[in-house]
């Protein structure tokens, strides 16, 4: 079991009603984590189900969904960025 710190930003933070949580996670990859979160239903399923774009960062680097999650990783899920 891996303990992850999961952060949400911008629209996802608002829709999920939280900025961060600590999760005990049995999966291996970012995709496994997304599937676990999506299964919560509601806004989680709407935002992470594939209809809307999102990005995943592991330890502050954007990764592909098949990226493995290291032990005690900081994982962030957020909409495509809009700075500048």
């Amino acid at each position: 079991m891996n303990t992850l710190r999961v952060l949400y930003f911008a629209r996802l933070r608002e829709r999920f009603g939280m900025a961060e949580e600590t999760l005990d996670f049995a999966g291996a990859t970012a995709a496994d984590l997304v599937a676990t979160l999506q299964a919560r239903g509601g806004a989680w399923a709407e935002e992470l189900g594939g209809a809307r774009a999102f990005r995943v960062a592991v330890n502050q680097d954007v990764v592909a969904l098949d990226a493995p999650l290291p032990a005690r990783a900081e994982v962030a899920i957020f909409p495509p960025v809009t700075g500048g």
């Binding site: 930003f9 911008a10 629209r11 960062a57 502050q60 957020f78 909409p79 495509p80 700075g83 500048g84």
Partner: protein
């Protein structure tokens, strides 16, 4: 190199003067300042709030400045991006690049802005007559950044 994420306003003249201070090898400084607009997607914008991912933001900005320095012989780079609530007309972002010649200064300044737009974890929320609205990422910004990987 100077990379700052801050709530306060910045002054382009002060930043450019700081780059020049005490050196005579710089032949060109190109700079870009992005401003908050009063209109977007067909509706008025009374204000916007910039959110970011502390830690990753600084890391992402440092990486894209490093990438620019690897592509061009640059003498100095300043990147300042504001966060928090901004009003129309307020400066949002500053990029200034110093080099021996104008070609690399212009190119690196545009490169840094194009990558900042698509890589640095900032998000804008606009206040409109219809309520709060998160700005959506634009395909044209992705295309602008992609140009640099083809050349």
């Amino acid at each position: 190199m100077k990379i700052l994420v801050q709530g306060d306003a910045f002054d382009l003249g002060v930043e450019v003067d700081a780059m020049r201070q005490g050196r005579t090898d710089i032949g060109a400084i190109a700079s870009f300042v992005g401003l908050a607009r009063d209109m977007n997607e067909g509706s008025g914008v009374a204000a916007m709030t910039l959110e970011h991912y502390p830690g990753m933001t600084e890391k992402a900005l440092a990486r894209l400045v490093d990438d620019a320095c690897a592509r061009w012989p640059l003498l100095d780079v300043t990147v300042i991006h504001r966060v928090g609530r901004l009003l129309p007309g307020d400066p949002i972002v500053l990029v200034a690049v110093a080099a021996s010649h104008r070609g690399e200064a212009f190119a690196a300044c545009e490169f840094i802005m194009d990558y900042l737009k698509t890589q640095a974890p900032f998000w804008k929320k606009e206040e409109t007559p219809a309520g709060g609205r998160w700005v959506e990422a634009r395909a044209s910004d992705e295309a602008a950044a992609a140009r640099w990987s083809d050349s």
